[in-house]
């Protein structure tokens, strides 16, 4: 019998090994995203457009009042570059550009968005942006906080286009194990392992107000000065008290109805038991099974507008690189302190978002359909900082490190690199990605803050290993080699290099210049193409969103 068992064991091993080899060596080709994605129909497109028009009315008003002439419309390639960078963290591939340009003009953008939403890179990239708002970039408490698991779960929710109010309620109120119900990592990320071993109501209150209500109430945690706002220390701790019941146990996070929240207020002699209360819109607070559920229902209540405004502002920032209101997580509850008004676009976008079931993909479609999103960043008149501030011209913003590495990898590949790429390609990309980020620097939690480029970043781009490997002679992963060998002539070579790296065609002047360079006999053709791609990768046009 023993030999039979051994035989069985060997057979299982063989099957396992051949499965792994099969998966690694034989390319798997599921249906391509581009093939299954469909543009919205004309009726739906018109509906989105109608909302965008309402949004644009406000922008037009602002432009007229300020006497700003809006920049002309950007061309389609500029628009898909913005969308890809914002929602997938990379530039469009040559392959994608070709398919895009073959589509009928009126449905191109709509199709591009459908394709984006069906692309796993959308879920992963946007999930990472949201994660930074929800739990930050810290490693968090050992074992009981599972960052990767949380991220994958968030990505799944985005791919399913889960209504955002439901997603939020789960983050705030869910019970269970950090592995089993990944939403609870929002709570476990704050557990103080060296101290109380409990989730920290103070941290959670800070996160909830910033991430979901775009209110920086954490300033009043220790004192009553809210820099012009009228929230008090008590408001903060009463909000924190909603988290008092959350505790960590062998079955994960659960609620203990008996827990109390004690706090010693500034200038107070002793600690007091703090009841739970919300800082505004108290009439929307209703009864529920647990304190956290009460809070979650209040936060996501359709009439609690700060909730919709917060995510509208954040999605605008993710899609465009710059929020409507800066900083992204601080929108005054009563509008501008001077006029009581919100910046153009915010309220109509929030209205539509609430009216249509907190649908994130619809929100993004509306954003992309607006004139504000589609302005060029150049014009034949002088563009000023005022133009950018009012979205009369598209603001030039620095790409974040992940967008830079994503764009380098894609620019070197011609073919689209996505979840359908070969597993080995994905593994190599993943390794390169992390290595590059370590050296280029991570933007951290506050990634929409304006930052300039640094010297180490420029050194890494000019002399770094990755750029070298992606431009030198290499037939496997290298656009420069492919372009030099496969293009019929120099003007085409220059054009393809521009399309793959900068997502545009060269101007006549640029084409003439680089064609002349390619003809220079001092270097071989392949080396010339390598130099061309190096210059494109090192340009500010590559490193900035525009």
């Amino acid at each position: 019998m023993i030999w039979l068992r051994n035989l069985l064991f060997i057979a299982i091993c063989c099957v396992a090994v051949s499965a792994v080899i099969g998966g690694l060596v034989v390319p798997q080709r599921p249906p391509q995203v581009a093939e299954i994605a469909h543009s919205l129909g004309p009726v739906e497109r018109n509906e989105i457009q109608a909302v965008a028009v309402r949004v644009d009315e406000q922008f037009h008003e602002t432009w007229t009042e300020a006497g700003l002439e809006p920049a002309p419309a950007a061309d389609d390639l500029a628009l898909i570059r913005r969308i890809s960078l914002g929602l997938t963290g990379t530039v469009p591939s040559l392959e994608e550009i070709r398919v895009f340009e073959a589509r009928p003009e009126e449905e191109r953008l709509s199709w591009w968005l459908s394709k984006t939403f069906a692309d796993r890179r959308y879920g992963d990239f946007v999930a990472e942006r949201l994660r930074r708002a929800y739990v930050g970039v810290e490693n968090g408490p050992f074992l009981i906080y599972r960052g990767r698991r949380f991220l994958t779960w968030l990505s799944d929710q985005l791919m399913e286009n889960r209504p955002y109010d439901q997603l939020t309620r789960e983050l705030i109120a869910e019970n269970g194990l950090w592995t089993d119900t990944p939403a609870v990592n929002f709570v476990t990320a704050t557990i103080d392992q060296d101290g109380t071993k409990r989730p920290d109501p103070v941290k959670l209150a800070g996160r909830v107000t910033r991430a979901f209500l775009a209110t920086r109430i954490d300033c009043v945690q220790c004192h009553n000065d809210n820099l012009g706002g009228d929230l008090k220390q008590q408001d903060f701790h009463e909000l924190a008290s909603f988290f008092r019941e959350a505790e960590n146990s062998f079955v994960g996070i659960r609620d203990n109805g008996k827990a109390t929240y004690e706090y010693q207020y500034l200038y107070s002699e002793e600690t007091t038991t703090v009841p739970s209360q919300v800082p505004f819109n108290q009439h929307l607070l209703k009864d529920a099974a647990t304190e956290r559920e009460r809070l979650a229902n209040w936060v996501t209540h359709p009439e609690n507008r700060p909730f919709a405004r917060a995510i509208v502002n954040r999605m605008w920032a993710i899609t465009t690189g710059k929020p409507l209101v800066t900083p992204v997580d601080s929108i005054p509850l009563e509008g501008s302190f001077e006029t009581g008004e919100y910046p153009p676009g915010l309220e109509p976008l929030a209205d539509d978002f609430i009216a249509h079931g907190f649908d994130l993909q619809r929100l993004i479609r509306v954003i992309v359909a607006t004139e504000a999103f589609q302005r060029d960043s150049q014009a034949d008149f002088e563009i000023t900082a005022e133009h950018e501030d009012a979205w009369a011209a598209y603001p030039v913003t620095r790409l974040r490190p992940e967008q830079i590495i994503g764009a380098i990898q894609q620019a070197a590949a011609l073919k689209t690199l996505d979840a359908e790429s070969h597993i080995l390609t994905q593994l190599v990309n993943f390794g390169e990605h992390n290595d590059f980020l370590r050296r280029y620097g991570d933007a951290g939690e506050d990634e929409f803050a304006e930052q300039g480029g640094t010297i180490p970043q420029r050194l890494l781009m000019m002399n770094g290993k990755l750029v070298k490997e992606r431009t030198e002679n290499n037939i496997v992963r290298n656009a420069a080699t492919h372009i030099s060998q496969l293009s019929p002539n120099d003007p085409t070579r220059v054009e393809i290099a521009y399309l793959t790296v900068l997502t545009r065609r060269p101007s006549q002047e640029e084409s003439d210049y680089f064609v002349a360079r390619l003809e220079d006999p001092s270097l071989g053709r392949r080396q010339h193409v390598e130099d061309l791609i190096w210059a494109l990768l090192n340009s500010s046009e590559f490193a900035w969103n525009h």
Binding site: L227, V396, M462, E509, D531, W544
Partner: protein, 434 residues
Amino acid sequence: MPTKHSHHAGCGGADHFSRRTLLKAAGGLPWLTPLAAQLAAAAEADKSGAPAKSVIVLWMQGGPSQLETFDPHPGTMIGGDTKRISTSSSGVEISDLMPSTAEIMNRVALLRGVTSKEGDHERATYNMKTGYRPDPTLIHPSIGAVMCHELSSAGVEIPRHVSIFPNQWPGHGGFLGNKYDAFKTYDPLGDLPDLPRRVGDERFAQRRKDLDILERTFTRNRRSDLEKNRTLHLATIDKAITMMDSEQIKAFNIEDASQSLRDDFGDTPFGRGCLCAVQLIETGVRCVEVTLGGWDTHANNHQLQSNRIAELDPAFSALIRLLEERDLLKSTVVLCGGEFGRTPKINPAAGRDHWPHGFSVALAGGGIRGGALLGETDPEGEKVTADLTDAVGIADIHATIYQSLGINFHHMYDTPIGRPMAISDGKPIASILA
């Protein structure tokens, strides 16, 4: 931003003679009248010594054990296997694992009662490197970033804030901007990564020229102040090229140093990093942090701490000696410490856990008074130091360093959230300042 302090005339070594010395010679301060005391205080404020110019942080990531390094308690319940030896500073005894350090303790001011409220590695590291506890609303700059922001950059072509062997939390610019982040570098042997050109000089120059064509197209018809006020792209590229071509980058490499000098530091990665730190300071770099990791000894504490100390001991002492020899100690503040100490109580795995309630930090150079000793810990390991006298907060260490650098740490920065923030909210530790 212009430099905030004025450079006084340098003071001259052994024959240095301050008004304070004079007052002391006159019989000491106690009998002075209130008016005279005021005059003396005024004289203190106007010291003749030039402020220090640079800082070296020997960063012990993980939390070194005060009981195995600067604050041994042999023969007590908490003492473990560590013995005590006397040092060149009378009355100061440190661990027998640090014989070389013992010889330079007369140049070192020892703080034995440092306390903080942060017991988590990341939060405590942030606290120690910035002087502020983590705050969800903004990121404070580290010492090196503040120095680069406040002090002149004249004549320096390489980054002025450097982290050697950075772990995941090197010094950062925080709200001052990422251009103040520490430049990260590793074992100072061979070329710096990303510094050498990947192609010949001529071809590189041609590439740089090609870039101008692209920049011309990009800036045309866009914001007129795009390069100047927003991207600074070409300016940063040209600064990077200046650095690539600079003779000063030799400071990042210690291969030209004699083997005997390298041996003095203990020819370990950390020792080489410390030697490199001296070369960098000599070249005009403002702040160098050299990280030595592996101090998080939750098990087998004595053995693991001893291994770390074997690297630290020669490097720290050789660093102080070399700075002194090259006449840099007066102008360089050296800090040796980690994010917290370790529990007096030894756990069942023969380890020590995190202990922010009374741990040691060593300071030297700059305006720091060598041989000074401040604070003590409970030999029973019961009482936390905050309840004892002479406890020192993290912010106070920062204020002390800024004071010796002549940086007005009361200066308020405008932060992105609109809340003014002092460079440091601590109080200089008067008793360890010269």
